[in-house]
Subunit: 411 residues, 2 copies
Amino acid sequence: MKRIILSLMALATLSASAQFGGGRVNPTVPSVTENVTEDFKPAPNNQSGHQYPMVNSQRMVRAQISAPNATSVGLDISGTIYSMTKNENGVWTGTSAPQDEGFHYYQLNIDGASVPDPGSLYYYGASRWGSGIEVPSADQEFWQVKNVPQGSVNEVYYWSSVTEAMRHCYIYFPHEYYTNTTKKFPVLYLMHGMGENEHGWAEQGHTGQIMDNLIAQGKAVPFIVVIDCLDARAANPQNAAPQGGFAGGQRPVTQGAPQGQGGGQRRGGFGGGFMMGGAFQDVLIKDIIPMVEKNYRVIADPQHRAMAGLSMGGMTTHSVTLANPTTFAYVGMFSGGTFNTQELENADDFKKTNKVLFMSCGGKENMGVMEAAENLKKIGVNATGYISEGTAHEWHTWRRSLYQFAQLIFK
Amino acid sequence: MKRIILSLMALATLSASAQFGGGRVNPTVPSVTENVTEDFKPAPNNQSGHQYPMVNSQRMVRAQISAPNATSVGLDISGTIYSMTKNENGVWTGTSAPQDEGFHYYQLNIDGASVPDPGSLYYYGASRWGSGIEVPSADQEFWQVKNVPQGSVNEVYYWSSVTEAMRHCYIYFPHEYYTNTTKKFPVLYLMHGMGENEHGWAEQGHTGQIMDNLIAQGKAVPFIVVIDCLDARAANPQNAAPQGGFAGGQRPVTQGAPQGQGGGQRRGGFGGGFMMGGAFQDVLIKDIIPMVEKNYRVIADPQHRAMAGLSMGGMTTHSVTLANPTTFAYVGMFSGGTFNTQELENADDFKKTNKVLFMSCGGKENMGVMEAAENLKKIGVNATGYISEGTAHEWHTWRRSLYQFAQLIFK
């Protein structure tokens, strides 16, 4: 348990979610000007028609914004603010040091105001909706849209008896769910990390594309993915509490709702009050799994149920699957620490039910996943370790982890 | 035709899509300070934990942002920039004149930079992803999340033989689609307006909630809604052309794709190159309808097919349904002008197929929908006019229009 807590603290420090949080200001350095290869191209995830932000072949990010009356503008990415410079037309430009392959949250700082870049698309992470940039990676084909049989990501609201409110999730259905209308499918319950919500796996995580491509190649069996949220707060207009947070399992209050209404916003009301351990477990076991197994064509047994998550969602997977040892046959922790032999040595129910225990992290993280997998194998657990080379505690690590994990389960 | 073109020009002027476009700068006025009722509450669609923006009972919008080093900050909403004032902590605050009930796009202006407000959620409209604010309305219950049987909005990619690229749409399925797995359903094809894309009806349009609530109350029959995009550009990584636009029907080019890849971004690649008339018609008739009728449980005949759209999407509905008179029995134009008697007098196929012709607009628009409906009735068309009281060329008009139209069709 001590190890778990230490891991969680390490994750909180590492996590992109902490980048912009808590009034902490990242250090400011000059924009990079030396040894810059001038082959910048618009980032692949810019807003339509926008040239900036750009990325070059060294994976440097270049941002640009028109702010004719500003006195200082900075590009805030990966824990550093790069000061931008103004040209005669009032347009500011700045270039970062090389970034890791994959997706990064960032923001601009204009005369002390931290704002999204109007050139980028917006994502939920680092505890806010804001800019994200996709730095092209050598292996990115695996998560991109291909002309293969398409499943779809569904936006679903459901009633939670635990929080006594409507909640919001995404559910991926494989193509075959629509074309073979009598077949039942296995289900993976997939969780986000700290400072994130259910939008992460649906958007920057590209769960739909990863699954469609794997299934089309015959590398994964078709299964359903339920992408829920660790936040206790609900999407219900009457129960939404947009101000402040509240602790795990506490019932959403109504008095915080603006105009007595809230708004039933699909993207609001999340991000502050995370449910740890027991509270989310209650929602998962009492509300989410029964809702899924009632409404959809699902094989409702442990051998066709998996749970996985990234970072804090991996820690949650750890605690929920330990506490419910006969519920999930497949368990995945992506940058979420490890199981250890002491925990599982005498966990007979867990070991009897479990078919695959997957633990992964980025090559720039040090989580001991390979060593943990070796040790767990010695006590009879089918454990697998995976390292995402060249990436840190960020989304490209987790996309690759899902890609690996999805090939191991329900087989 | 002349009338159609004139109407389209009028719409382009009226449309919120033009608000921030084309380098035009809205006039700046002082923040409102007199006769302001100090009962401001956080807008219902703020980002989690954010107090600002706020709305008061007079429907004034108050924005606030920390920008300690800025020299001027403005709140840009509904065609006017309200200059904000700074306090001793470097926090800027500004208040707008009263706004209409419903949803409005807006942005902040910091020392000449136009940026999203970090307190709001972000929406696609006015040709950009950016801030939107929900000004509470007396009738808003109809589009809010309720604990009723839930359908779901699906994110779907499909191959277009016309554009030779993958395209992106949303498809709403009613609750019964999942629970009654042998039943087939009618389909409404629902289009967005200028400067918008398929996200509009799925997000700020609240199609899923409007439909779920209507079906739960027995006011609408369960039907499928296909929400597509008038933009010719595709969501395919190989074909995405993030720079510039291209004219209707032209094939997406590859050389504009950054790093040779693009990104398969679900929210990118739209917004610049709209397909008018013929080009979109081709995609709809040759790709979208066949894809829907092949993959889903759909009643594939004209009496179970409807088409509607807002603004430019209404104009498109006008031209597509006139050119395909036996394809759609139900036609809706929301703030999209009117059909006139000359067009339909001798359109025997159209009149024989059509069951409902619905034309609507906001009370602050003057589109002659009631008069047009009266005239069309005289030549044997079952035309209906609807005026959304107190609203202009904005989303609350269109939500109400969908709410009305959905009650009339497939009955």
